[in-house]
Amino acid sequence: MIRVQRDDFDLGAELDALACGNHRVGGLASFVGLVRDMAGDGPVTAMTLEHYPGMTERQLAAIEAEAHRRWPLEASLIIHRFGRLEPGDRVVLVACASAHRQAALAACHFLIDWLKTRAPFWKHEEAPDGGGDWVRAREVDDRAAAAWDRNEG
């Protein structure tokens, strides 16, 4: 399931709902991304996430479908927020449920790595002096995603 939303989410409720009533699920793995108060060049007071409505959902759905192709998942969930967020706020949740931990953990890792290089979101950070700048894409993220191209999991 894919959700792109401005509002926060209830972590416990989302994870509970993912495996609720499905007793084939033996493992539930999750990753939560949070806003940090530091970036490469200094402190950050807030960030605004811009996205491309329509393409975002299409890309997330494609990434999720690829995870289901590679691993035997019972359920999966991607929630990504947009709009203005402050340090400590949740940005993204990726969760995968499977019979066993290996598939749940690997699929979760894959989803966040692929999402970071394919889902059309852009972060604009605000500095304490009132300035701001667009976050630059990181090569380390490209390499992490590319590793999954070579390794089918």
């Binding site: 491309y52 393409m55 940005v91 970071k116 290089t117 394919r118 059309p120 852009w122 894409a137 993220d141």
Partner: protein, 83 residues
Amino acid sequence: MTVLYFAWVRSRIGTGSESIALPDGVRDVAGLIEWLQRRGGGYADAFADPSQVRVAVNQEYVDPDHPLSDADEVAFFPPVTGG
């Protein structure tokens, strides 16, 4: 065509969306980028280094040689930074 701009591509150009009739002689994404560069100003600034700009046509990533038609939704944006 509907042409969309996001993040710093949008802020350099000064708009997030515009309608452009497929210009004479423009057949693919690379041709459209060259045409936009010739508009100068914020366009020249946004496309100063096209290797820093990603392109989607009808919401799928494409390469510069992807053909264009008047019904397409074309989007230009920097490498993504979500997650």
